[in-house]
């Protein structure tokens, strides 16, 4: 899937770029974005270190286990293949809380920690597990209660009017994400294929 989308975006970019006479802009965008990607990653190091450090303290002191236990009724339904006392649940819950509160800087490190812990439970390391896709989909659909600071700054006094609409719209998109993941994970196209079978398919 990603292979086709990735190639498709670049191919369409070059095709449309030639057609629109913007091929120089396409070239520059490719080079600029390659640079920007590294800047983003490097910029993450400090924030990641800060939150992963604090998280380690929360983990060792048992705080994460307490939070994970409390929210188990919800997480059990969303992530049925993660064991009850696994640290992944704690990180997932904390990531979602940070997202709800609009703390983007804290949410990313917590989310990456959760991914790492979900990867421990994953049999096929190069393939996303059901729980990983569910976790990602919930993250991309955004579950914010507090509006992004950029929106507040842009909208001024009108911001109070879009507060309710944003919560309703984001709730709809999150529910849609959960339903779509649960529906698609059972389709044959996206089903998990055991390693041995996959090799046979590749050769055959």
């Amino acid at each position: 899937m990603l292979n086709y989308i990735w190639f498709g975006m670049m191919a369409i970019g070059v095709g449309a770029g030639i057609y629109n006479g913007k091929i120089d802009a396409v070239t520059n965008a490719a080079i600029d974005m390659a640079k920007v990607s590294v800047e983003i990653s490097i910029g993450l190091i400090g924030i990641m270190a800060l939150w992963l450090g604090i998280m380690k303290i929360a983990e060792e002191s048992g705080l994460i286990r307490i939070i994970a236990k409390g929210l188990r009724p919800i997480t059990l339904r969303l992530f049925p293949d993660v064991p009850e006392d696994h640290p992944a649940i704690g990180s997932i819950v904390l990531n979602m809380s940070a997202n709800i509160l609009g703390l983007g800087n804290a949410a990313t490190p917590l989310g990456l920690k959760a991914m790492e812990e979900l990867q421990e439970l994953n049999d096929q390391k190069d393939t996303a597990s059901n729980s990983m896709v569910m976790f990602l989909a919930i993250n991309t659909s955004s579950v914010q209660l507090i509006l992004p600071a950029t929106v507040v700054a842009l909208m001024g006094a009108s911001v109070s009017e879009i507060f309710v609409t944003t919560i309703l719209a984001t709730s709809c998109s999150t529910i849609a994400a959960i339903v779509a993941v649960k529906f698609l994970e059972k389709r044959k196209r996206f089903a998990l294929v055991p390693d041995a079978e996959k090799q046979e398919q590749d050769h055959g």
Binding site: I40, I57, A128, T165
Partner: protein, 182 residues
């Protein structure tokens, strides 16, 4: 009333991070007698490796998105889709933002700023735009960072599910704004 509530929430929000930064070590140190400084450093070490591990995935995704954006392909897609969307009542001015949102955070913020400058903060267009922006995340970026950090290459149904949710989010943004804002 709502204004007060929003103001209150955003006021509370600015205390959350400092409270966590002090509260967690406080609990660990006073209740559990954990050597907080040493444990912090052990955890923080992973920050570097994770951030560096993301780089190739982020380069791949952001370069492809950047090329697509710069080529004007989005405008061509808009022309193609505009007649269809007029029929279902989706405002054409908000379409670029809806299409940009899953691709690029900075790109969609730019489009939202344009909408606000052009139509004013009191316009329906700006309110729908802000709702769209606030109710979704940059799907491709989050996918590259999250899956990249653990080396997952086969994303399975993550993209179809994510894009479906984005579409539902954009449509419900229009729906709820038209319903609730006079």
């Amino acid at each position: 009333m709502v204004e007060l509530f929003v103001g209150g929430l955003n006021n509370v929000a600015k205390y959350i991070i400092p409270t966590l930064l002090v509260g967690i070590p406080f609990y660990a140190l006073s209740v559990k007698k954990i050597p907080v400084y040493e444990v912090f450093v052990v955890g923080a070490k992973d920050g570097f490796t994770i951030a560096v591990r993301i780089i190739p995935y982020l380069v791949a995704i952001l370069v492809a998105v950047g090329m697509f954006r710069a080529s004007g392909a989005l405008d061509m897609l808009l022309n193609l889709l505009a007649p269809v969307l007029n029929v279902v009542g989706f405002p054409a001015e908000n379409l670029p933002l809806a299409l940009m949102r899953p691709l690029s955070g900075s790109g969609s913020l730019g489009l939202l700023t344009d909408l606000v400058n052009e139509h004013g903060v009191d316009s329906m267009t700006a309110k729908i735009g802000a709702t769209m922006y606030g109710s979704s995340e940059t799907t491709f970026y989050v996918l590259a960072v999250y899956f990249g950090s653990v080396g997952v290459i086969r994303s399975r149904h993550a993209i179809p599910a994510g894009l479906f949710a984005d579409a539902v989010g954009a449509i419900s943004a229009v729906f709820f704004c038209k319903l609730l804002i006079a």
